[in-house]
């Protein structure tokens, strides 16, 4: 039986704004530091911002079209360095190209100390209805140690501005980012951080683990033996504490590093994990409208040249349903297991075009590899659906995923090859 494969067009778009006041010590994103007094329209760096926005708008205009968007995410960098007018212009181009559904989730990343009551109102007026706040820590000393430009006081002010806006119904939801496992952090100080976060009444939290990426200040310090990260045991305890504390405060861990109150799950981020497609625009941005991910050049010059090529030869082939390759089963499992609802193996296999016979032939060996995880209680199985348990399963998710990767590697090459477009009956539902 060939699956009747329906590939739905993307309903999401990601826009990358690479500007920041400073580059944080842990950051390896494609960002352009503009200095602490930077601002979008007339401050220092405004020319750089304006010329970048021209490129970004050009890319949106060049893009193949699609149905109206249900989520838009303006990330960075620090998008709140832009003026409301500039954000409005970006949204307008998206409206012209795709349209934006009423009730769409329009998220923008903001940093404390880059906006005030007026500019927040401005952003909300042009359509933003969700904010992701890069708070990272409530500890001044820690904020300085990780190279952030804001301080605790700025963060608390930002939180109350956002709460205020939500109370009046202009803002539908907002989220706070926190980083755990920072140098010098220990269980007690982390407990305080979590409690302060809960006390802000934020309805959504993203809690990330510090990852020391090559090329960052932290990597350099680590190389010199000057980065004292928490001990493994301590890191484990903090990780566990996060899940337990936030659960007690009424949050649901709906993804490995994301927690929300009922009704406040980020719709945009779920697109990444459930295998749906998204458009991507901007320097360093990744798009995957049909399942083939494509990362744009990370520097301004290279991005400009890439755009020129798009201009001359037409948009990249990954942006067209007929030409893009597909994401494969291993990736769908890898991403799907991150979410609370987990994955239905057979369903996913059908999704990439396996038939009943292939499922029977290949899926049992994966289930066999997962037996230990089931036994240990990290994985739970309901029907065909596998879910990581919270907290233990999610905290050890790599162990489950590595078994899956080994399984994937053991399959015959023709099975793991990207599914081909021709083999699937596609219906373009618009």
């Amino acid at each position: 039986m060939k699956s009747s494969y329906t590939r739905l067009p993307p309903r999401s778009a990601y826009l990358h704004i690479p500007f920041c006041k400073r580059r944080c010590f842990y950051c390896d994103f494609p960002v352009v530091p503009l200095g602490d007094s930077a601002s979008g329209e007339n401050g220092p760096g405004s020319q750089s911002i304006q010329s970048y926005l021209k490129l970004l708008l050009r890319e949106i205009d060049l893009s193949p079209s699609g149905p109206a968007l249900s989520t838009v995410y303006i990330g960075g960098g620090t998008p709140s360095l832009l003026s409301p007018l500039q954000i409005g212009l970006l949204l307008e181009h998206l409206r012209n190209k795709f349209g934006v559904l009423c009730g769409a989730e329009l998220t923008m990343e903001m940093d404390p100390a880059t906006f005030d009551k007026d500019s927040l109102e401005g952003f909300l007026n042009v359509g933003i209805n969700r904010v992701s706040l890069g708070g990272q820590s409530f500890d001044d000393e820690m904020l300085a140690k990780i190279g952030r430009a804001h301080r605790k006081q700025h963060l608390i002010e930002a939180c109350s501005l956002l709460n205020e806006a939500m109370k009046h119904g202009y803002l539908k939801s907002w989220s706070l980012d926190l980083i755990q496992n920072l140098p010098g952090q220990h269980l007690e100080s982390w407990r305080q951080q979590l409690n302060q976060a809960v006390e802000t009444c934020v309805p959504h939290l993203s809690v990330y683990d510090l990852l020391v990426e090559p090329g960052t200040v932290f990597a350099w310090r680590e190389g010199r033996g000057e980065l004292a990260l928490p001990e493994e045991r301590s890191a484990e305890e903090m990780f566990l504490l996060t899940s337990l504390t936030l659960r007690q405060a009424g949050f649901a861990r709906y993804e490995i590093s994301n927690y929300s109150y009922p009704g406040h799950i980020s719709r945009h981020n779920r697109v990444y994990w459930n295998g749906s497609g998204w458009w991507g625009f901007g320097q360093g941005a990744t798009s995957s409208p049909w399942g083939q991910r494509m990362a744009r050049p990370r520097t301004r010059e290279a991005y400009r040249k890439w755009l020129d090529i798009q201009d001359n030869q037409g948009p990249d082939s990954s942006l067209f349903l007929e030409k893009a390759s597909r994401s494969n089963l291993d990736e769908l499992i890898l991403l799907g297991l991150r979410c609370r609802e987990g994955v239905d193996l057979k369903n996913l296999a059908f999704h990439i075009g396996w038939d009943e016979m292939e499922c029977k032939k290949y899926l049992p060996s994966l289930e066999q590899r997962w037996e230990v995880a089931l036994e240990q209680g990290w994985l739970k199985k309901t029907g065909q659906r596998y879910q990581l348990t919270d907290p233990y399963g999610m905290n050890l998710s790599n162990q489950v995923l590595v078994e899956m990767m080994i399984w994937w590697d053991s399959l015959p090459p023709d099975v793991v090859d990207s599914p081909k477009f021709e083999e699937l009956q596609c219906t373009f539902a618009d």
């Binding site: 990601y14 809690v207 990330y208 683990d209 990852l211 493994e232 045991r233 890191a235 484990e236 990780f239 566990l240 490995i256 590093s257 981020n269 990444y272 994990w273 998204w278 991507g280 360093g284 941005a285 990744t286 798009s287 995957s288 991910r293 990362a295 291993d330 990736e331 890898l334 991403l335 991150r338 230990v372 240990q376 990290w378 233990y392 999610m394 905290n395 050890l396 998710s397 790599n398 162990q399 995923l401 590595v402 990767m405 080994i406 590697d409």
Partner: protein, 602 residues
């Protein structure tokens, strides 16, 4: 040039310590005689196995025939027979010496005589070879030819008044060496009309032509039309071709006494044409074989297991193929509940073991678990039987044993005298018994100890090198078995016995080794999802224990659109690492852990 009169033949070899420039000198001789043009010259032409070139050592012997016009304007044929330079291969060395009338003793003019050189020189003297001392690397600023000459005279008792100074690197003195080979090395005995006897001094396996045998005709002649008989293996063959190495193989019709050549006769495995065997004619066989043939005996054993159990058949096939070209390699199937199916393999020594392991991984693309090397124990059972045990895990229970004997070697270590203390300490640590200490010059000393072979096949060599900054060299040979207070030390991982980690140790060292082993394993085995107890036991008595705590966090905490590819790569890397580990019960054990016993001193 064919049909050379016997008195125009010279057969010689080069004796040198590793790094003293043997291969470079050989290259230079080939170039100087025009045997190999400079254009075709690959560095170290004679070492043509990749591994040899990488390690700078000679494993397999090679030979080359050179034409040389001496100062008397006569044409001579010089056969250079290369010798392997490692203690594991001393039997091969002795055979290749037997194929020669003379030897160049190459000594680094800045370093002096080393143990290995000495052992081979004595072998050459026993074989009655004419020895020409050559001082190499005299172009180096630190060279001191006069001091080294004195040393050679003092240690070996060779007259060095006509020693030749050379630099294989620059070519200085190379012609003088060739001239000396002609003048000072005697020609072979002219025994063309005697019964045909030829000595096999090397062989290798060629997948298309079967085994290629390198031999020296000692007496009589061999023609391509002959049917030959190998006297030790008692097999007979019609010859496909015979020829000379110039240095590439080139066919001839006949070879006579004194000449060196190769033959191909569709021989299936090198075990059928072993080094040291005598070739004679099937129709008129010699009455006696040449003396000195012995079968190479493995001294060191270890278990080889594929990390991926599905590749057991591939490993078997690879060993079968390797054995075609390596007569000293032994293997038999071994299986344990912990490791699944694998092989127990026997080797001449540690280097031989490493080479085989590396060839299996490189040429056959196998991921292997190699267990720590063991020697062969002689177990005297209560009922009077004697059992030879090469796998510690199969040592019978104490109530069945009367005593255990282990092989001992006589070890000679040469080193500058300031290292006496540390070297004696090392030998004491390894249960050595002091035999003698001799000052060979005012600065250099020979230490002689008798040591259990089991202590030598661990990291003895590495320790000796590191304690003496690389200045010491060693040489040993087996002297027999001795009874000792030995016990079997078992290791339990997650309460399951790990056979491949079982060792046989002296009772007095058991506690330290057991404690060291579990501590080392704790370092080497990564944390897993559950707590893993590690124990060392003698019989049912636990003598040391440790545990690895459970891992509670292994997660990619952030994963969005742009990171997916990168995060996937991290997981792929982790999966690859896991695949290289061996699952013992529920525990994944990395390769290095099986060698833990060798790493106790690090």
């Amino acid at each position: 040039m064919t049909n050379v009169p016997v008195n125009r033949l010279r057969n010689f070899c080069i004796i040198a310590h590793i790094d003293h420039g043997k291969s470079t000198l050989a290259d230079r001789l080939l170039q100087e005689t025009g045997t190999v043009s400079s254009r075709d010259m690959q560095e170290q032409f004679l070492d043509n196995m990749d591994l040899e070139r990488e390690r700078g050592i000679t494993i397999k012997l090679q030979a080359a025939r050179m034409n040389y016009v001496a100062s008397d304007k006569e044409k001579y044929v010089l056969n250079l027979i290369d010798t392997p330079g490692h203690v594991d291969f001393s039997y091969e060395v002795s055979r290749s010496l037997q194929a020669c009338e003379g030897a160049l003793l190459v000594v680094d003019a800045s370093q002096g005589v080393e143990a290995q050189t000495l052992a081979n020189v004595y072998l050459a003297l026993e074989n009655d070879l004419e020895i020409i001392p050559v001082l190499n690397k005299i172009d180096l600023p630190g060279s001191d030819p006069e001091r080294i000459k004195d040393e050679i005279e003092a240690i070996i008792g060779l007259d060095t008044s006509n020693a030749i100074s050379c630099s294989a690197k620059t070519g200085l003195g190379v012609n003088e060496i060739l001239q000396a080979v002609v003048e000072r090395i005697p020609p072979p005995k002219d025994d063309i009309n005697e019964q045909t006897k030829a000595l096999i001094f090397d062989s290798y396996y060629d997948p298309y032509r079967g085994v290629i045998v390198y031999f020296r005709v000692i007496s009589g002649k061999i023609s391509v039309k002959d049917k030959v008989l190998l006297m030790a293996s008692k097999k007979s063959y019609e010859l496909d071709e015979i020829g000379i190495m110039a240095p590439d193989q080139s066919k001839v019709d006949q070879l006579h006494a004194g000449e060196v050549g190769y033959l191909a006769a569709s021989i299936k495995a090198v075990a059928d044409a072993r080094v040291g065997d005598t070739i004679t004619l099937f129709n008129s066989p010699a009455s006696e074989p040449l003396p000195g043939y012995t079968e190479a005996k493995p001294m060191v054993f270890c278990g080889l297991f594929p990390t991926d159990a599905d590749r057991y058949p591939d490993l078997r096939e690879a060993l079968e193929k390797l054995q075609l070209s390596d007569a000293a390699l032994r293997y038999e199937p071994e299986n344990s509940s912990a490791m699944g199916f694998g092989f127990r393999c026997g080797f001449l020594g540690l280097l031989h073991m490493e080479i085989v392991q590396e060839r299996l991984e490189r040429e056959y693309d196998l991921d292997l678990i190699v267990t720590a090397p063991s020697v062969v124990y002689k177990v005297n059972l209560i009922d009077g039987d004697i059992l030879m045990v090469d796998n510690p895990a199969t040592l019978p229970d104490p109530q069945k044993r009367d005593s255990i004997e282990e092989p001992y070697v006589r070890m000679e270590i040469y080193a500058p005298h300031e290292y006496n203390g540390t070297l004696m300490g090392l030998c004491q640590d390894r249960r050595g018994e002091f035999v003698d200490m001799k000052y060979i010059t005012t600065e250099r000393v020979t230490l002689i100890y008798e040591l259990p072979l089991a202590e030598v096949v661990t990291d003895f060599f590495d320790q000796m090198k590191s304690r003496t900054k690389g200045y010491a060299s060693m040489e040993y040979h087996l002297v027999g078995y001795r009874s000792n207070e030995l016990v079997r030390l078992d290791i339990l991982i997650n309460s399951e016995k790990a056979d491949p980690l079982t060792t046989i140790v002296h009772r007095e060292k058991a506690y330290d080794v057991g404690k060291g082993l579990v501590e080392k394993l704790k370092e080497l085995i990564p944390r897993q999802q559950f707590k893993i107890p590690l124990q060392a036991s003698i019989g049912s008595r636990i003598i040391a224990s440790e545990s690895i705590s459970a891992m509670r966090k292994d997660v990619l905490a952030k994963c969005y659109g742009g990171d997916i590819s990168r995060k996937k790569k991290l997981l792929q890397k982790q999966a690859k690492g896991k695949k290289r580990m061996k699952a013992m019960g529920k525990v994944d054990v990395p390769q290095e852990a099986f060698m833990a016993v060798l790493k106790l001193n690090q």
